[in-house]
Amino acid sequence: MPDVHALVNDFLIKLKRRKIEGSKATAKVTAEVLRSFISQQRLPNTNQAGALIDAVKAVGEQLIAANPVELAVGNVVRRVLHIIREEDLSLTAAAIGGLSLSAGSDDEDDVGHDEHPALSAAAVAAAARSTLRPPSLQTLLEDVPHTAAVPHTSSSGGDSEGKSKSADKNSSTKRLKHNVIEAVNELIQDIVTCHEQIAEQAVEHIHQNEVILTLGSSRTVVEFLCAAKEKKRSFRVFVAEGAPRYQGHTLAKELVTRGLQTTVITDSAVFAMISRVNMVIVGAHAVMANGGVIAPVGLNMVALAAQRHAVPFVVLAGIHKLCPLYPHNPEVLLNELRSPSELLDFGEFSDCLDFGSGSGSPILHVVNPAFDYVPPNLVSLFITDTGGHNPSYMYRLIADYYSANDLVLQRRSAS
């Protein structure tokens, strides 16, 4: 137990001090911390899922508050909560199913259930799910495999049910935890491999002799471009350098070492070059529920340029970047103002910042926002690890991944 606390505290401090950068790294670490937290969590005998959810929520609130700008933390916390709910649901469904199956041998007080012996486990699960949220498109489409999966677990549950109740309680505790941890592991795996899954789709989007424009640097974009290159597509890349951090320079270096024809341009030259560009491919900091994108500063300008010249504006985003919140939500901290020293050398400009005379207020101000907000109407396509989506479809995708109950996680902490 103290080990986990130390782990959580350590992560909290890192978040607070901005020592972890990049949404992917943050998401992965968050998931790992939550996994170890869950695995060490002692659960009561009744209402295990509720207890677990409360505990995770409490930790999650702290994590989110530690760095409210990094939305990936909140996303992963909500995903984990959703996973717990799902697993709990499938377990209860299985238990009910098991009970109804073994109703003949078991003559105790669960008459209420016995009244509907014909109810299949899948139907119960589906019904229970439908009370929580509207059925996801995926469930509707993939109805058959889903129903097949649920009885499978239920049958094993039914076996143990018949033997002894106390043993079952114990095992179901373990099973919930076990299942949740399994699912979180899958989530971590998804986060780790999201680049590859996105990159797999590259050939479908990048065509021969096209010109691609990107801004700044994003790991996902690098993998995406390189995947297309590996599939023997030949194309050219324009890299806008991405002031003030100039990550475009490192991107250009990397692309060149992989043998891609690369042109570096300044951010301000984007409008001039956009007419020669076939497609804009960029990474994102977060994708909001309305399909808007929080992205490195300068991208709104690129998006406007792309719209003006009818160039497709494609955003690559791993699932951990999907944020179930809306950008107009006051709880969402959209931006972070970084140090002015990225723009100006403090030493050089220190004589402009003398407060000793005049009114005492600084005459020189420097604003260095980290992010831009790109409204959904400027985005042509999102490519996530599950495929390409329209901005207007984002809310549906989000409904698949998150429970509506968890969306307001943060507001509760504030009040």
């Binding site: 782990l7 607070k16 001090r17 020592k19 407060f355 000793g356 005492g360």
Partner: protein, 752 residues
């Protein structure tokens, strides 16, 4: 464990400083990086506030200063910090215990308490005795705000150490121009001159004394180094990367106290063990030390402007209180009760739990936690700490208001006011500009020389300030004492007010505006401009007859690059020094003090006024001639006799100062020994101005000096040749000495 490790490796993927530091830390893993943090500035600049709370615990944008320093050290990869506490040691230790610093993984903080240290030197000696420093360490004071990465500076330091074990210290400097009118940096510190070898970055000269516009460099520096940059646009960040030798040097030189004034100067001037000091300049990163109220103001504004990122109010680098950044640099905590009609202007920080009444206006200010601000209050450029009550209709401008202060309705605080803890200002009272108000009375006796944050033994109430750890009984006594004094104090700050207004001591009164939180008023700036212009004119008028000692300096400084000011009055300092030497000499005559003792005294005077040995010989000679003059002399010949006796008697004294340089530069320029010329020039000046009696016997005295071996013939010849190009009026004495010079010339030819 897995998560932690991966988090470490992934830290700062975007090329942030964190990643770089961590790599370097891993490289240096054999010896954990240590730091010594001096939680006492050993100064009185922040009085009266520091009577009750140590300086490092004073809130800077609502976070205690020491937390900035610790957070920076932690993020820069320092693993072990020794916090040296002296004044209010209990409070510092308590703060460290209550904050998270003791519970951090990979970052250990140890408090070292001492009650009798009077300076940084004592602190370092104590730490040296404890034998805890094992390798290179970072030496900072607890009032440093920085976000620089230590990795680069450390790397440079280690590299240099490997090549040359005498490179014991690397000093961090940054660029900062001083204001041309007030001659002080934006942090309120005096103009700093540094000579640095541009190739090796070795520090050769360091001068931070005020009131001096000239710099004198040792000639050997120029012969030893191919080029030297003389900077007046750099600022000392007071962040030093030291090798263990620094501690032992302090231990060896038990009289060293001040890091710069004693240690640095000592190493540079006296060449101890051949130790060298180097500099590391930071460009974009931030580093500053809070040394006075002006720098408190400046650094606060830098923090609000985010130059210290990530040490800014909306990042929770310490504790849990965080503010949200709104447009235009407004930082607001989550729980703030603000009236709808209240206006909170740009670059303002409001702490949590603070309420602001209707129609109030706040701009460019920092307001702490739990403050109550009434209606129609206007606050501009103020630093209001925690739990302050400000009633309706007050006007505050550029003031510091400490915890628990109550400002009754209608009070006006003029710029530069400091209200210490729990002061109450009565209704409608106007607190005059630059005044400091405290519950404690101003100590009557003040150590004028040594600036100590910690108690003067003469001011008894100091003990009350460190009460927190003492038994209640004592506390009660002090409160009784207080309530008595409160009655007395009531009248000073309006009806119903509690507190004493500290009178500024005469010397510093003039300087009060320099180091206050308030910006320098425009009228004052104009005034300074005028006076400095006048001084400039005076200097220019004097130009044809340069004050003694100037010649040599100018010739050296002409070689330096960034040197651009001659206009500050140097003579002042020198004249004071001259008077002091004269007084010393007189005393020596009267009390028959030994020559060695006089030398010692003159030496110490020289050090305290920071003058060259050349100045001593001039001043000594001057005082000798004066004393000869004061003795009765009916005729000029008697005067010469008088002078002869004085000179013969004190020959040794003069000689001590004259040949000293002769040996060093003997090979190069023995013939033009500047010191001896100095004496002649001085004498010439005397004859012209103060002691006209001598003008008739100039040659005789010159001859006398020559006879007594005080002045070499080369010096006289040199002097003569130097004067050849001068005006007719200037040649007066050369002409007088014509024969003598001729004789000397012939004599030397014969020798050849």
């Amino acid at each position: 464990m897995v998560a932690k490790k991966s988090g470490r490796n992934r830290g700062g993927g975007g090329g942030g400083t964190a990643a770089a530091t961590e790599v370097s830390v891993e490289e240096l893993a054999r010896v954990p990086l240590q730091a010594i943090l001096l939680a006492d500035s050993f100064a009185t600049k922040f009085r009266p506030i520091t009577l009750e709370r140590p300086k490092v615990l004073l809130p800077l944008v609502n976070v205690p200063m020491i937390d900035y320093t610790l957070a920076w050290l932690e993020s820069a990869g320092v693993e072990e910090v020794f916090v040296f506490c002296c004044a209010h040691a209990k409070q510092v230790a308590e703060h460290l215990e209550n904050s998270q610093w003791f519970a951090q993984p990979n970052f250990s903080v140890t408090a070292i308490e001492s009650n009798n240290a009077v300076g940084a030197g004592d602190a370092l000696r104590l730490i040296y005795e404890q034998n805890v420093i094992r390798g290179d360490f970072v030496l900072v004071s607890g009032d440093t705000v920085s976000n620089m990465s230590l990795a680069e500076a450390l790397g440079e330091h280690k590299e240099r150490r490997r090549k040359d074990s005498n490179a014991i210290m690397t000093m961090v400097i940054t660029q900062s121009k001083t204001s041309p009118t007030t001659r002080q940096s934006r942090l309120g510190t005096d103009e700093l001159f540094m000579a640095i070898d541009p190739d090796t970055k070795q520090l050769l000269y360091y001068e931070d004394k005020s009131d001096k516009g000239t710099v004198s460099l040792d000639k050997t520096l120029l012969s030893d180094h191919p080029s030297i940059y003389l900077h007046n646009d750099k600022q000392d960040c007071y962040i030093d990367i030291c090798s263990p030798e620094v501690l032992s040097t302090f231990a060896d030189n038990f009289d060293y106290q001040h890091l710069r004034r004693h240690f640095l100067k000592g190493l540079l001037d006296d060449d101890i063990m051949g130790y060298k000091i180097f500099t590391h300049e930071i460009q974009s990163n931030y580093a500053a030390r809070i040394d006075n109220f002006r720098s408190y103001d400046t650094v606060s504004k830098d923090i609000i402007q985010r130059w210290t990122y990530p040490l800014v109010p909306d990042v929770q680098f310490v504790g849990n209180s965080s503010a949200k950044l709104d447009r235009q640099g407004m930082y607001r905590a989550s729980v703030v009760g603000q009236s709808r009609s209240a206006q909170v202007g740009p670059f303002t920080v409001i702490g949590s739990g603070t309420t602001i009444g209707s129609q109030s206006q706040i701009s460019n200010s920092v307001v702490g936690e739990g403050c109550k601000i009434g209606a129609n209050v206007s606050i501009e450029g103020c630093y209001i700490w925690h739990n302050v009550t400000i009633e309706d209709g007050c006007q505050l401008k550029h003031a510091i208001v400490c915890d628990g202060v109550v400002i009754k309705s209608g009070v006006i605080l003029e710029p530069g006011v400091v209200l210490s803890y729990k002061v109450v200002v009565g209704q409608q009272f106007i607190v005059p500009a630059y005044s400091k108000v405290s519950l404690y009375q101003q100590p009557i006796k003040q150590d004028s020389d040594e600036e100590l944050e910690y108690a003067d033994s003469s001011s008894g109430f100091m003990d009350a300030s460190s009460l927190s750890g003492l038994p209640d009984k004592l506390k009660e006594e002090s409160t009784i004492q207080l309530s008595e004094s409160q009655l007395q104090a009531a009248s000073e700050v309006g009806s119903g007010g509690v507190g004493f207004i500290w009178s500024t001591s005469e010397g510093s009164h003039e300087e009060e505006w320099r180091h206050s939180v308030a910006p320098i008023p425009a009228a004052k700036l104009l005034e300074i401009m005028h006076t400095s212009n006048n001084e400039l004119e005076v200097v220019q008028q004097d130009g044809n007859l340069p004050p003694s000692g100037e010649l040599e300096r100018d010739s050296v400084t002409a070689n330096s690059n960034d040197y651009d000011d001659d206009d500050v009055d140097v003579k002042d300092d020198y004249e004071v020094f001259e008077n002091e030497v004269e007084a010393t000499f007189k005393r020596a005559l009267e009390e028959n003090i030994k020559e060695d003792d006089v030398i010692l005294e003159v030496n110490s005077l020289r050090l305290s006024y920071n003058l060259a040995t050349a100045d001593c010989s001039g001043a000594l000679f001057y005082s000798m001639m004066k004393s000869a003059l004061s003795a009765p002399h009916p005729s000029p010949s008697d005067l010469v006799k008088n002078a002869a006796t004085v000179i013969t008697k004190w020959k040794k004294l003069l000689k001590y100062y004259l040949p000293s340089i002769d040996e060093e530069v003997g090979l190069l320029i023995s013939s033009s020994d500047p010191d001896e010329i100095e004496v002649i020039l001085k004498f010439e000046e005397m004859c012209l101005e103060s002691a006209k009696e001598y003008s008739t016997v100039f040659v005789q005295i010159l001859h006398l000096l020559y006879d007594k071996d005080i002045i070499q013939e080369e010096a006289i010849l040199n002097w003569a040749s130097e004067k050849e190009g001068a005006d007719e009026t200037d040649k007066l004495f050369v002409k007088q000495a014509e024969k003598f010079i001729q004789w000397l010339n012939e004599a030397s030819e014969e020798e050849d």
